[in-house]
C-alpha cells in the first residue's frame, strides 16, 4: 500500500517509493539519505501538521509537513 510520510504511524516502517518534488528538494532529501529504495521508519509527528521525524539508516531527520506530503512510502498494512 502506497501512502505519504504524514500518513505513516509512529513506529511504522516502509520502503521509500518515490519523491514528488523539484530537483532542489529531491537532492536535499537524497543528501540526507531519503531516496527511493531506502527503508524508512517514522519516529514521530508534531501536532497540528508540524514537522515529521523519520529515521533512515542511522540518521534522524525532521521534515516539514508540506515536504513530507510529497514523499511516498510503500508499507504493508
Amino acid at each position: 500500500m502506497k501512502i505519504d510520510l504524514t500518513e505513516m504511524r509512529p513506529g511504522e516502517s516502509g520502503v521509500i517509493a518515490d519523491i514528488e518534488g523539484g530537483f532542489g528538494m529531491t537532492k536535499r532529501l537524497q543528501n540526507m539519505g531519503v531516496r527511493p529504495g531506502k527503508k524508512i521508519t517514522k519516529v514521530s509527528s508534531q501536532l497540528w501538521r508540524g514537522p515529521q521525524t523519520v529515521q533512515v539508516d542511522n540518521t534522524k531527520i525532521a521534515i516539514g509537513f508540506g515536504m513530507a506530503k510529497r514523499v511516498f512510502v510503500e508499507v504493508e498494512r
Partner: protein
C-alpha cells in the same frame, strides 16, 4: 609531492571540527548543531617542517551545492592539494556519496572513518581493510574527541594519490555504494541505550513538550543559582573587602567633588562609595561588567554549552517549528533567539543559518526588540528585583507579548513564503568536559574583551556629558516625550544615550534617579526595546544591509514609543 593546502571535508555533524582542532591545535568551537562551521576555519599543521595549511571546509552532503555553505565548499576544493574526507562510520552509506564525488575530481583523498568508537555500541562492524581496497585510497579509523587514529591519519597522508575514475551518474553511484556497503559492513542487533530512548521521548509531542518545558525551567534555575551564588559569595565580597579600601584611599587623595574624583570614583551616595551607583570609572565601571554581569554570562554560557554539545537544540527547533511558523520563521530560528539571550551579537550572527532574506529580517528584528541580553537581564534582575518579583514579571511578560505580537504583524505584513524545516537531528552525545570548558572560556574572554572597553567608555562619556552640561541640554529637548508619554523624569535621557553603547550600564544609570517602581519598570522595558547596542547594530548592518537595518530601527523605535506609553497608561 609538496603539500600546501589540506582540506577537511565531510557531511555536516561528522565531528570535523574536533578532528580539525586535533590536527591544527587551533582554537575552534566544537558543537553539535548543524551549521556552526558555515564560516570556515584554518590553521597550520605540523608535518615535518613544511607545516601545510589545514582548512576546515563547511560541511556539505555533496558537490552539487544546495546551500551557500556547500557552494563555498565546492569553491574551496578548487585550490586544495589533498582532501581528508571525514566520514561518519555510523552512517557510512550516506557519507560515501561525497567520497565518490571527491574521487571523481582527481584530487588525492584520505578517508578518516570518524566516530569509530560509537560503531561498537551501535552494533556496526566495518571491515576497514576491505573498504580501503574497494575505494583504492587509505582509510583510517579515528575518534576526534579522544584523538584516537589521528597520528596514523597524518602518517598516511603521503600514501594518498590521484585515482583514475570514470564519472558515474547519480544512480550508478548509489548502486556502487550499495555494493561496497554489502561487502564491508555487518550490522548486529543491539539494545537501545538509555540516551537513544531519551532521544525518542524528547521528539514525540506528548513527552517532548513537557521535557522541553522541564529543560528550559531547569536551565534557568541553574543559571540563576550559579549567577547569584557567584555574585553573593565571590564577586561582591572581593569588591567590598579588597577593592573598596583601595578606592577609599584614592578618593582621599583626589578629594571629593573634584573633576578627577568624579571621573574615577564618582559621586558619594550617602557619604560613601556605592559600587552600583557612584558611576566612576574604577567603581561602577569595573563593578558592573565584572561583579554584576560576568557571573550571569558565565552561568548562561555554561548551560548553553552543555545543551549544545548534548545535541538538544535541534529537538527544540522541531518541537517549536509549528509555533514559529506563525511568526514567519521555522523552528530553527530558536537558535539565534537563544544565543541572543546570551548576547545579541552572536544571536545576530546566527541569523545567517536561516535561509531566506525575509526570515533573517524577522528573526533579527524580533531578537533586537524583544530579547534582552544576559548582561541587561542581570542588571534588571539586580536593580528591579529589589522592588519585588512582580515588577520583573511585568517587564519580561511585556517583552514576551511584544515578541509574539511583533512576530504576528511582521508575518502578515512582509510578503514571501516561510520555508519548511528540513534538518538532521544529531544523536545525543554526553558533553565532553574539556570541550565545554574550552568553549565557555572562549566566550567569557570574548565578553570581557568586547564589553569591558565599552562599559568604561560609556561611564566616561556619561561623566563628560554631565560635566559639560550636555545631558541637561538633551533633557530639556527630549524631556517632554520622556515625562508626558513615558512618565519618566527628564534625567532618564542620559540612560537612553548610554544605552546605545551598553545596555547594562544604561539600566544601572536608572538606579541613582530615585525612580518609583512604575518608572523603573517603564525605564527598563523601554531601554530593552528602543535600539540595539552599538556592537549588535554593527553586526546587523552587515547582515541585513543598511536599508533593512533602517527599516528595523524604525520598527524598534516605534515599538519602544508605544510600549512605554501603554505601560504608563496601564500600570497603576
Amino acid at each position: 609531492m609538496k603539500l600546501n593546502k589540506i582540506l577537511l571535508m565531510g557531511n555536516p555533524n561528522v565531528g570535523k571540527s574536533a578532528i580539525f582542532s586535533r590536527l591544527a591545535g587551533a582554537r575552534v568551537i566544537i558543537s553539535n548543531y548543524p551549521g556552526t562551521t558555515v564560516e570556515f576555519t584554518q590553521g597550520y599543521m605540523k608535518i615535518g617542517k613544511e607545516g601545510p595549511m589545514v582548512i576546515d571546509v563547511p560541511g556539505s552532503y555533496s558537490l552539487e551545492p544546495t546551500s551557500k555553505a556547500e557552494e563555498v565548499a565546492v569553491q574551496m576544493l578548487k585550490d586544495g592539494d589533498l582532501v581528508i574526507n571525514i566520514v561518519d562510520a555510523t552512517n557510512l552509506e550516506r557519507n560515501l556519496y561525497l567520497t565518490l564525488e571527491l574521487l571523481e575530481k582527481g584530487i588525492p583523498v584520505v578517508v578518516a572513518l570518524n566516530m569509530w568508537d560509537e560503531t561498537k555500541h551501535q552494533g556496526i562492524d566495518i571491515d576497514v581493510e576491505r573498504l580501503e581496497k574497494e575505494l583504492g585510497i587509505p582509510v583510517v579509523p579515528t575518534c576526534g574527541l579522544t584523538g584516537q587514529g589521528i597520528k596514523e591519519l597524518v602518517e598516511r597522508l603521503s600514501e594518498a594519490k590521484v585515482l583514475k575514475v570514470h564519472p558515474l551518474s547519480d544512480k550508478k553511484k548509489w548502486e556502487s555504494i550499495g555494493k561496497i556497503i554489502e561487502d564491508v559492513q555487518r550490522l548486529s542487533h543491539h539494545h537501545h541505550t538509555f540516551l537513544q530512548r531519551l532521544e525518542e521521548l524528547s521528539i514525540k509531542p506528548l513527552t517532548g513538550v513537557p521535557i522541553a518545558a522541564g529543560v528550559i525551567y531547569c536551565a534557568f534555575r541553574v543559571i540563576r543559582f550559579l549567577g547569584e551564588g557567584l555574585i553573593e559569595y565571590v564577586f561582591e565580597p572581593l569588591f567590598e573587602n579588597l577593592w573598596l579600601p583601595l578606592m577609599m584611599k584614592l578618593s582621599l587623595i583626589l578629594g571629593e567633588g573634584n573633576f578627577l574624583h568624579n571621573v574615577f570614583i564618582g559621586n558619594f551616595i550617602d557619604g560613601q562609595i556605592d559600587f552600583g551607583q557612584s558611576f566612576g570609572l574604577l567603581t561602577t565601571g569595573l563593578f558592573v561588567p565584572i561583579a554584576m554581569v560576568l557571573p550571569y554570562i558565565f552561568s548562561f554560557y555554561f548551560m548553553l554549552g552543555l545543551l549544545e554539545d548534548l545535541g538538544y537544540l535541534p529537538r527544540l527547533a522541531v518541537l517549536l517549528d509549528k509555533l514559529m511558523h506563525n511568526f514567519g520563521l521555522h523552528g530553527y530560528a530558536i537558535i539565534p533567539v537563544t544565543l541572543g539571550l546570551g548576547c545579541n551579537v552572536p544571536g545576530a550572527l546566527a541569523t545567517r543559518l536561516l535561509e531566506g532574506k525575509r526570515e533573517k529580517f524577522i528573526a533579527a528584528t524580533l531578537m533586537a526588540v524583544a530579547v534582552p541580553c544576559m548582561a541587561q537581564i542581570a542588571m534588571i534582575v539586580g536593580l528591579v528585583g529589589q522592588r519585588g518579583g512582580r515588577y520583573l514579571a511585568i517587564i519580561f511578560s511585556t517583552l514576551f507579548i511584544l515578541f509574539v505580537v511583533k512576530g504576528l504583524i511582521l508575518n502578515k505584513v512582509l510578503k514571501g513564503p516561510s520555508p519548511e524545516i528540513l534538518i538532521e537531528i544529531p544523536p545525543y552525545r554526553i558533553p565532553q568536559v574539556g570541550a565545554v570548558i574550552k568553549k565557555l572560556w572562549m566566550r567569557l574572554c570574548g565578553f570581557l574583551r568586547e564589553a569591558l572597553p565599552y562599559v568604561l567608555l560609556g561611564v566616561l562619556i556619561v561623566n563628560i556629558l554631565y560635566a559639560l552640561k550636555i545631558i541637561d541640554l538633551l533633557a530639556g529637548f527630549f524631556g517632554p516625550i520622556m515625562t508626558k508619554i513615558w512618565g519618566l523624569p527628564k534625567e532618564a535621557i542620559s540612560a537612553l544615550v548610554v544605552g546605545f553603547l551598553r545596555k547594562d550600564v544604561a539600566v544601572g544609570m536608572l538606579g541613582p534617579l530615585n525612580l518609583t517602581n512604575k518608572q523603573l519598570v517603564i525605564g527598563s522595558t523601554v531601554l530593552a526595546i528602543y535600539f540595539p547596542c552599538i556592537a549588535t547594530f554593527a553586526v546587523l548592518v552587515r547582515e541585513l544591509g543598511i536599508k533593512d537595518m533602517l527599516k528595523a530601527a524604525v520598527i524598534m523605535m516605534t515599538a519602544a514609543f508605544f510600549v512605554g506609553a501603554l505601560l504608563n497608561f496601564f500600570i497603576p
